[in-house]
């Protein structure tokens, strides 16, 4: 392998890793909701789109940096999630119907309303936030003068990655150390047992849906400096979130992080070595492969090792 090829490979791996960090954040929101609610939130990507629009308008109207919008879009989406759960999902959980998938179809409906409301309100133009640091990057040769290969690290990508790490860390702390976090985990592990232990399951459901939406809203803010925005963008990210959750193992937070990283790397490799247009196909191939050969996801591998000891 020549140095040029090595350069391409390393660069691909770096961008895959950075993308994977953001994917992990999207996947975490989805996996939280899935763990506690036992439903797939097919409006997940659309919620992210809403977060991105918040960041976009904050930037365009008030010049607020997209990274600061994390602290605006996150809470807004948190309350939006709570409202969706309280007024739409909960009533459906109560009604009797032939198909148990009604809740999933409901989230499809919510997603349709969100994306088409965005089309009406903001037109279907592609938008982006032209931040000043948008195209700047670190170069390996700046630090190590005699480097035989040249690698670059885009600044917005790296900042987004660091933010994603920080949010993931905060979430981990919340789930592991606080009472409410423990209640959420208990609800997701065994609903009836949690109920018997005095956990307010209804409240945990509402909070979890809010938390999941807030996370994906924050992810939207991290995406906007490096990506473009249009109303129909949600569907694509819903699928990504779902692939990550399957890849990681249902309801497993560590799994979602690993799943996100794997998917990011894989997509980046497909885009470089097979072709840009094929990256989504690669995404589904890995999804189907995971379903067939590793139905429990990465989390099942981790679990197997702990039990083996």
């Amino acid at each position: 392998m020549g140095s040029a090829q090595l350069e391409v490979l390393l660069q691909t791996l770096i961008s895959g890793l950075l993308l994977g960090g953001l994917y992990a954040l999207i996947g975490l929101g989805m996996t939280l909701i899935m763990g506690v609610m036992k439903i797939i939130n097919l409006a997940h990507g659309e919620l992210m789109m809403v977060g991105m629009y918040i960041a976009f308008w904050m930037f365009t109207l008030f010049g607020v940096d997209p990274y600061l919008s994390v602290f605006i879009a996150g809470p807004v989406l948190f309350f939006l999630g709570i409202a969706i759960q309280k007024f739409l999902v909960n009533p459906v959980l109560k009604v009797d119907s032939i198909l148990p998938e009604n809740q999933v179809i409901l989230t499809v409906g919510i997603g349709m309303v969100l994306s088409s409301a965005a089309t009406i309100a903001f037109k279907s133009d592609y938008r982006s936030t032209p931040v000043s640091y948008g195209t700047s990057a670190f170069y390996l040769s700046d630090i190590w003068k005699g480097s035989p290969i040249e690698l670059s690290l885009s600044i917005p990508w790296s900042v987004s990655f660091v933010f994603a790490l920080a949010i993931t860390g905060a979430l981990w702390f919340f789930l592991q150390k606080t009472d409410m976090g423990k209640s959420i985990r208990a609800t997701s592990q065994d609903l009836d047992a949690a109920l018997l232990m005095g956990v307010n399951v209804q409240r945990m459901r509402v909070v979890t849906f809010g938390l999941g939406s807030g996370l994906v809203g924050a992810a939207g803010c991290l995406f906007i400096p490096i990506y473009y925005l249009y109303p129909a963008l949600g569907g694509q990210f819903t699928l990504i979130a779902f692939v990550i959750t399957i890849l990681g193992g249902l309801g497993s937070n560590v799994g979602a992080i690993l799943g996100g990283l794997i998917l990011g790397l894989f997509e980046s490799l497909t885009a470089t070595y097979v072709g840009m247009g094929w990256a989504p196909v690669g995404r589904f191939l890995i999804f189907i492969a995971a379903l067939l050969f590793l139905p429990g996801g990465v989390a099942s591998l981790l679990r197997r090792r702990t039990f083996g000891k």
């Binding site: 439903i39 797939i40 739409l88 009533p91 459906v92 009604v95 009797d96 119907s97 032939i98 198909l99 148990p100 998938e101 009604n102 999933v104 179809i105 409901l106 499809v108 409906g109 919510i110 997603g111 349709m112 309303v113 994306s115 088409s116 409301a117 089309t119 009406i120 279907s124 569907g235 699928l239 779902f242 692939v243 399957i246 072709g275 247009g277 094929w278 989504p280 196909v281 589904f284 191939l285 999804f287 189907i288 379903l291 067939l292």
Partner: protein, 312 residues
């Protein structure tokens, strides 16, 4: 008696409809309603009776449409041959996809089918040589300018689908399907080969959808991956038709297709809101799920009760 008389009366009425001299636009709407009715009935077999909610019927619709399209585009054979050929092609596709997705249950099945539709769309887009990529396939000469013959062809397909599904649901297989929907483990323990019967339901449902796809190519004269493999405009609309009309009912698909097609046309006519039909569909879907979870036909007793109470 009613079981035979009502379908015959409806069929007779539909048969006579073009004779009263409807405008070309009305005929177009009727053709669309019948096409969506057929797809809805096909979906209902798998989703309503067998309980496997598919979010990817666009996959079969698209494969059917492209079978006809490629016949014309690559081999210069009339796209009408696509209708019989699509039966073979779609059943192979459905069998292969079913092998993967039917191992999954409930929401996982739903999502895997959704992914299969998207994979086919992207693959079709990227195989430019074979499918003409995103440019799509245009049928240069239409068979008829008049809509009447198209109408009778799709009416025949719809009627055939109705009969096939009614026979299936009344047969032993139909009971197996419902048993699988109600409790797959219980069905399995009673000796029903659930994978086999789920595959049968999927393949039949896919074939019927694929025939509609091939018909669509002939009728519209133009297809591209974004139209025929559309997630929202095909897969989700199919689900909505059945949800609105009534899950696991004979007439639900017809009622649902009628409402959805008319609603889409009606919204399109409102200036400034044309692009937003999905918002209305979404709101309708949410309302139906919350208030009429079994659809208009399924919840008919509930609706009549409400009306009676309102009158009293």
């Amino acid at each position: 008696m009613n079981r035979v008389a009502i379908p015959l009366a409806v069929f007779g009425a539909l048969l006579a409809l073009p004779l009263i001299g409807l405008s070309s636009y009305t005929m177009h709407i009727l053709v669309l309603v019948l096409m969506w009715t057929t797809i809805g009935m096909a979906w209902n077999l798998l989703g309503g009776y067998c309980g496997q909610v598919s979010f990817g019927h666009a996959a079969y619709f698209g494969v059917g449409a492209y079978t006809a399209g490629i016949l014309y585009f690559k081999l210069q054979i009339s796209a009408w041959w696509g209708i019989p050929l699509s039966v073979a092609v779609v059943s192979v596709f459905a069998f292969l996809l079913g092998y993967i997705v039917l191992k999954l249950r409930g929401p996982f099945f739903a999502l895997a089918t959704l992914a299969s539709g998207e994979v086919l769309r992207i693959t079709t887009e990227n195989m430019g040589e074979f499918t003409n990529g995103t440019l799509g396939i245009l049928i240069q000469q239409r068979t008829w300018i008049e809509k009447t013959w198209y109408y009778y062809i799709i009416l025949a397909i719809a009627a055939l689908t109705f009969v096939v599904i009614r026979k299936l649901v009344a047969s032993k297989w139909g009971y197996y399907f419902v048993a699988i929907r109600e409790d797959q483990d219980a069905a399995e323990s009673l000796g029903i080969d659930t994978t086999r019967y789920k595959t049968i339901a999927l393949v039949i449902s896919a074939i019927l959808t694929g025939i509609c796809g091939a018909f669509y190519t002939n009728y519209m004269g133009y297809i591209d991956p974004h139209i025929v493999f559309a997630l929202h405009d095909i897969s989700i609309i199919t689900i909505m038709i059945v949800m609105v009309g009534g899950v696991a009912t004979e007439w639900g698909a017809l009622i649902g297709a009628g409402i959805m097609v008319l609603l889409a046309e009606w919204i399109r006519a409102i200036p400034g809101l044309g692009a937003s039909h999905q918002a209305f569909f979404g709101i309708l879907l949410i309302a139906i799920i919350i208030f009429l979870p079994n659809g208009i036909v399924g919840d008919l007793p509930k609706i009549t009760r409400l009306f009676r109470r309102a009158r009293a």
